[in-house]
Symmetry: C2
Subunit: 136 residues, 2 copies
DNA sequence: ATAATGTCTATCGTTTTAGTAGGAATTTCA
DNA sequence: TGAAATTCCTACTAAAACGATAGACATTAT
């Protein structure tokens, strides 16, 4: 399941992209427009800013804005920051690899075999979508 | 992330398929071979039996066995029973559809748009793999 | 100065996960 | 017929993750 964090983060990014301008948009406006708890959204936008997707401005007239063009923001990057690994099992993760405790040999593991295919197919989708593609 | 339940269930099914025979295999043997907590595996095999994947026999010489041929067991079915919906969001699920609380219009939702593609790509993988394909 | 904003840390209730415990029921076989 | 081996079933639990919420602080525009 996709976490609410990721879901809300994607919606917020899409909203910012659809607004189009480089003017800061306030958290409250985003939260209201997307029916999201404002406080929760706050923390999500914060991590998006810390990870280089958003810029922010404090004080009156402040808010968040996209730092790059929507078509320069691939979903792979967004998903990894918000949701974590794209792979469903650490042993097939490109960016978060970990060996399984059980499983003496990955080459013989049926789960590994299957999840490798799933990862690649998901990766394919995320690599072929930027934020720009999500705007309807 | 794939749950341990699904992971262990897949491994157990694969083991049963690789053994090949229709003779019952004991939980203890599967657990030992796959490095799985026996008690936990018990409950997993139970749900696999209740969902028509396995047969069982009690008492001495008892155990679990595959009811169908491995190439007649598609991964879609296994995943849905063990892991639940294949979709990452209920609003794009074929078998477990639910409308989102937020989100007035699915057609306009960026998350919906993206997750639909992810679901289809995953579905593609699961539909093209049966238990027989997982045996190395 | 003051009001409007984002920043940060801490906390909290609920749900899910990954088991564990213990016994009942069934079957085999000596 | 009885003992041993096995699955079946229910209930419980500890830990982690999730989805927030609260409140004080920092910065900026006017």
């Amino acid at each position: 399941m996709l976490s609410k964090k990721t879901k809300y983060g994607l919606k917020a990014l899409t909203y910012l992209a659809s607004v189009g301008t480089k003017e800061p948009v306030q958290i409250a406006e985003i939260a209201k427009h997307e029916n999201i708890s404002q406080k929760f959204l706050e923390s999500i936008l914060l991590t998006l800013r810390r990870n280089g997707f958003l810029g922010s401005k404090k004080g009156k007239g402040g808010g968040y804005y996209l730092i790059k063009e929507p078509n320069e923001i691939p979903m792979t990057a967004v998903m990894r920051v918000l949701e974590g690994p794209i792979a469903m099992v650490p042993c097939v993760s490109l960016n978060f690899y970990e060996k399984c405790d059980d499983c003496p040999d990955e080459g013989e593991c049926s789960v590994h075999k299957l999840m490798l295919q799933v990862r690649d197919s998901a990766l394919d989708v995320y690599r072929n979508n930027t934020l720009a593609d999500l705007i309807s």
